[in-house]
């Protein structure tokens, strides 16, 4: 058993270092020879995987932070408290990763502060930039409580406690803004984005789906960390989240279907075109199947059923964002955009570092309040353990 785990750790540690090494080389290439040297971006497809996945999905997948803090601190539903800290941590790390990915994607990342002093108020991108910057700061402050607690700064910890509610309100407002604004970004391209995805209600579609995937991510992440850290699952709590999730899924389903019908393009969804097939994939995987599954209380009460359904919601969400940012443009722009190996590897490196950082924080801070603490491991060792811990069921 121990040998098995060790060899698996060795494998994942190797993979992690390989990703890091290759990623470093690619990073040097990207910053010395331009975006064209590592990406498949082009004048026809100026936005690719890094915008479609790292930015659009990254921000959405981190939505659990604002959903859960609002639930507990504003709606005062205290029983969800045990999952607030992991949700805030995920959100914080998620936003840090989004900003890091932006540094790769922006042509001149050293000018990233320009929107603060040169802001153009008609630009959705300007609004998104300000919101993401502010919300990352809010998340850092929300997360700081765990740090103060760990290092024993009592006064700072008390101050942080005292400002939690205003901070949460500010964070929820900021999230409402930029989660929806990521959809508003695409309102200016009615001639380019396919009718299955272009709709005047894109901001609402983006906002509702972010709340939906935020809930799903809390469930997914609880399962993953239960496996990784050998914790007990808070099943009754997660089942409750599953019930809320099925409600939001229902709202989202009605919104999407009604919108397609109202604009008279619902027929296009049933074709066998490239767009229709990817739309069907997104709709079936991310909405219909999990909605049907989660409608059964039995599925919600079963840890595998709940986890599987939530994972489908996450995958369907990713599919939607990629459809809006890539698939939907291919008809108008001509040709196909497929991310290069370099783009994919840098994204993978970012995810790997994110996992490692999460693991490190869980080991270092009191993220799962009722848990007993294990000693802090060296970050490198932790980083290497993460994928194994996440994927390796055998460990339990």
């Amino acid at each position: 058993m121990t040998n098995q785990i060790d060899s698996r750790f060795g494998f994942w540690r190797g993979t992690f270092y390989l990703l890091l090494g290759v990623g470093l080389v690619l990073t040097v290439m990207r910053f010395t020879q331009g975006l064209g040297s590592v990406t498949n971006l082009s004048d026809r497809y100026p936005w690719g995987l890094w915008v479609g996945f790292d930015l659009l999905c990254g921000v959405g997948l981190a939505a659990g932070g604002f959903v859960l803090t609002a639930t507990v601190y504003i709606f005062n539903i205290q029983r969800f408290k045990p999952v607030v800290r992991p949700a805030v941590l995920t959100a914080f790390l998620g936003y840090v990763m989004v900003v890091t990915a932006l540094l790769f994607d922006l042509g001149k990342p050293w000018n990233i502060w320009h929107p603060i002093v040169m802001g153009n108020p008609t630009s959705v991108m300007f609004e998104v930039a300000l919101c993401v910057m502010s919300y990352t700061a809010v998340l850092a402050l929300e997360f700081s409580g765990m740090v103060f607690e760990r290092i024993g700064w009592k006064r700072a910890w008390k101050v942080q406690k005292a400002v939690t509610v205003p901070l949460v309100i500010f964070g929820v407002v900021l999230s409402t803004f930029h989660q929806s604004s990521l959809g508003t970004l695409y309102l200016i391209v009615p001639g380019k984005l396919h009718a299955l995805w272009y709709t005047p209600v894109l901001p609402i579609v983006f906002f509702v789906s972010s709340a939906m995937v935020g809930l799903a991510m809390v469930i997914v992440e609880s399962h993953l960390s239960a496996r990784a850290f050998g914790r007990q699952l808070e099943m009754p709590l997660l089942s409750d989240l599953g019930r809320v999730l099925v409600g939001v899924l229902g709202v989202y389903l009605v919104l999407r279907v009604f919108d397609l019908a109202y604009r008279g393009v619902i027929g296009q969804a049933f074709g066998l075109t490239y767009e229709a097939l990817l739309f069907q994939l997104e709709f079936a995987v991310g909405i219909l199947v999990p909605f049907a599954l989660l409608s059964f209380p039995k599925v919600r009460a079963n840890s595998h059923g709940l986890y599987g359904s939530a994972l489908l919601v996450v995958l369907g969400f990713i599919c939607h964002r990629l459809n809006v940012s890539i698939t939907g443009f291919e008809g108008a722009q001509g040709g196909r955009y497929i991310p290069s190996l370099g783009e994919a590897l840098i994204t993978l490196m970012m995810i790997a570092i994110g996992f490692a950082a999460f693991r490190f924080c869980v080991r270092t801070f009191n993220v799962y309040p009722e848990e007993a603490h294990e000693p802090v491991l060296a970050p490198v060792r932790v980083a290497a353990e993460v994928p194994a811990a996440v994927l390796g069921r055998a460990q339990r």
């Binding site: 020879q33 029983r79 408290k81 000018n111 040169m118 630009s123 300007f126 407002v173």
Partner: protein
């Protein structure tokens, strides 16, 4: 100078003989080494092209929209429509988000994908020459009056004059007069030409309106949602306080004052 009418360019497909002097002049004036004959797609070193479609030459270049999408979407105001008319780019402001390229309805802006310090590249209607009182290079080089420089007003009058003078030769429409709120580069065609990129379905309203409709509502949404959240917070907390005072515990589990975390 600044109170002058904004300028523009008129391209007349019917008059054009396809000599490509405009493309050549454009390349020369910007110092680009390229073959004008082979210039069929815009690039970071090619701001205008000429392709022949059904025996008629078509120029492609920045339309210099009256209400440009690129200006509206740029987070740092790197793209601006000047008082003189041309839409120009300031590389020192640019952060490289490339939203302008995504938003442009005519797919005009190009990027320097192979540079470590890249910039957006597109036609600037030779604004420097204009400020010296000269014509844009392409208009100056045209031997046939197919690419004409003037104020947008003059060019519209000229375009309609040409249509009325020989209605048989022209499709009775000036591309760019009204589409998307109007463009400073105008086109005359012998028949309907879809590849000019003016899509009837997009109408005559400027595209930036679509995002502004939503964006302009955000302050209101912010105030209302912040107030609503505060109200909800106050009510739910009050409910727990009352419950505690009456010796019960809040409906949602622990009362607030018992919290540990």
């Amino acid at each position: 100078m600044s109170s002058k009418e904004p300028t523009g360019l008129l391209f007349d497909m019917v008059e054009c003989v396809g000599c490509r002097n405009c493309v050549k002049a454009c390349m020369e004036s910007h110092g680009f080494a390229g073959d004008p004959e082979g210039a069929t797609t815009l690039s970071a070193t090619c701001y205008t092209t000429m392709v022949v479609e059904d025996d008629y030459p078509i120029r492609n270049m920045c339309r210099h929209c009256v209400q440009p999408s690129c200006q509206s979407v740029c987070p740092v105001g790197a793209l601006k429509r000047t008082e003189e008319g041309p839409v120009v780019y300031d590389a020192s402001k640019c952060i490289g988000c490339r939203y302008c390229m995504v938003a442009c309805p005519f797919n005009i802006p190009r990027y320097e994908w192979d540079k470590a310090v890249p910039a957006v590249r597109k036609c600037d209607m030779c604004i420097d020459r204009q400020r010296e009182g000269r014509k844009p290079a392409c208009a100056e080089a045209c031997p046939k009056g197919a690419t004409v420089f003037g104020t947008r007003k003059e060019l519209l009058a000229e375009a309609w004059k040409r249509i009325k003078k020989s209605p048989r030769d022209y499709y009775p429409h000036v591309y760019g007069e009204h589409e998307l709120g109007g463009t400073s580069v105008l086109f005359l065609a012998p028949h309907e030409v879809a590849s000019l990129g003016y899509k009837a379905a997009l109408g005559n309203e400027p595209l930036p309106k679509l995002t502004w409709q939503v964006l302009s509502k955000l302050p209101g949404v912010g105030v209302v949602s912040a107030a609503t959240l505060m109200a909800i917070w106050w009510i739910t907390r009050r409910r727990d306080e009352v419950a505690l005072a009456e010796g019960r515990v809040g409906g949602n589990g622990r009362a607030r004052h018992e919290e540990r975390n």
